[in-house]
């Protein structure tokens, strides 16, 4: 039984990390269905800019970032997960990079370092977020310095913030 319990814990941690990856896939591809699938229907978020039901947040946030960011990209790392039966608490670090056009002035890059503070719940065998808070640690704004000329002309495969991104063709967007 002890072995069974240890195996289950390893699987639970992997399952939560897979869901953390799907969350970022959803935000970076602006995929509402995938994003909602990472939360339970009664889930909640407190992102400062929005606090309340998670699915309502998803429905508001995806069109918002699509309209207001020229580019959005997030990486997560430094994951710590504390399992407690069918519940888990987790902290993960996020480094974001976005490009946006201020109402006045030039295009900017706005990198930020944030953390997610989560409560995950396993219901009917599937781990989804019950609660996610977003904590801002550091951010900045730099003049946009992306280039398409010179050596950058070789990169013909450009990431897309919709279902035309190659990740879909590779069948790597799989909501649970």
């Amino acid at each position: 039984m002890e072995l069974k319990r240890r195996l289950a814990a390893a699987l639970d941690i992997q399952a939560i990390e897979d869901q953390m990856a799907r969350y970022i896939q959803a935000v970076d591809r602006c995929d509402l269905e995938l994003l909602k699938s990472v939360f339970h229907a009664d889930g909640v978020v407190d992102f400062g800019v929005y606090a309340g039901n998670a699915w309502e947040f998803c429905e508001q946030n995806i069109p918002f970032i699509k309209a207001n960011l020229v580019m959005g990209w997030h990486r997560f790392s430094t994951v710590s997960i504390q399992l407690d039966g069918n519940r888990a608490t987790a902290e993960s670090y996020m480094l974001g990079n976005a490009a946006m056009q201020p109402p006045e002035g030039e295009l900017i890059n706005c990198p930020d370092n944030m953390r997610y503070l989560d409560v995950w719940e396993k219901r009917d065998g599937v781990w989804r977020l019950y609660s996610r808070d977003l904590i801002l640690d550091w951010n900045t704004a730099w003049p946009y310095s992306g280039r398409e000329d010179g050596e950058f002309a070789q990169y013909q495969l450009q990431g897309q913030r919709d279902e035309t991104d190659l990740v879909y063709q590779h069948r790597l967007i799989n909501p649970l």
């Binding site: 992997q14 896939q25 990209w73 997030h74 990079n97 992306g146 950058f152 990169y155």
Partner: protein, 172 residues
């Protein structure tokens, strides 16, 4: 369909092995370690990465050949998502490559954010990259402003060779 404990364990083991494979790829790339780089790929591996299209061998050689225009390079991987199916797997991996590029006497810090879309295959128990596609998401270019003074003079330095401190710890 209920999976057996062994099948479930093998899924986790495969995902861990694929993460290790990608970490070894990053080390091979950043340290220009050709032997390690060769070991990451299947014999028939294909690549689609900027100007490199088709067989991976020219990429393996180019990425592990000294290049005076590239002063340092740091490839940090994250967001690794895998779908494993027996001896085959697919994956998406986020990468930020940070480099100092020297051109026309100017040093530029260049950051490239993108993703690898991969096919992997297990051969004789070892996971290898069978096909890697690089998707470019963004880049940034700033004049280099790195300091070599104060505490920065004291740090151990990364090297694009086996002189890097990692080899003393991990061996070759």
């Amino acid at each position: 369909m209920q999976q057996s404990d062994l099948e479930l364990l093998e899924q986790v083991e495969a995902k861990q092995a694929l993460r290790l494979l990608n970490a070894r790829f990053a080390r091979a790339f950043d340290r220009m370690d050709r032997c390690l780089m060769v070991s990451c790929w299947t014999g028939d591996a294909q690549i689609d990465w900027g100007s490199h299209q088709g067989d991976v061998q020219p990429f393996v050689i180019a990425s592990t050949s000294s290049d005076d225009t590239l002063e340092k390079t740091f490839s940090s991987l994250s967001n690794e998502y895998f779908e494993v199916d027996g001896d085959q797997a697919r994956g998406e991996v986020y990468v930020i490559n940070v480099s100092t590029v020297v051109a026309d006497g100017q040093r530029t810090d260049r950051l490239i954010g993108g993703r690898f879309l991969d096919h992997y295959r297990r051969e004789q128990g070892e996971w290898k990259i069978a096909r890697r596609t690089f998707v470019h998401d963004w880049n940034m270019n700033h004049p280099a402003t790195a300091s070599d003074e104060g505490m920065f003079a004291l740090f151990k330095r990364g090297e694009r060779s086996k002189d890097d401190p990692a080899y003393a710890l991990l061996g070759e």
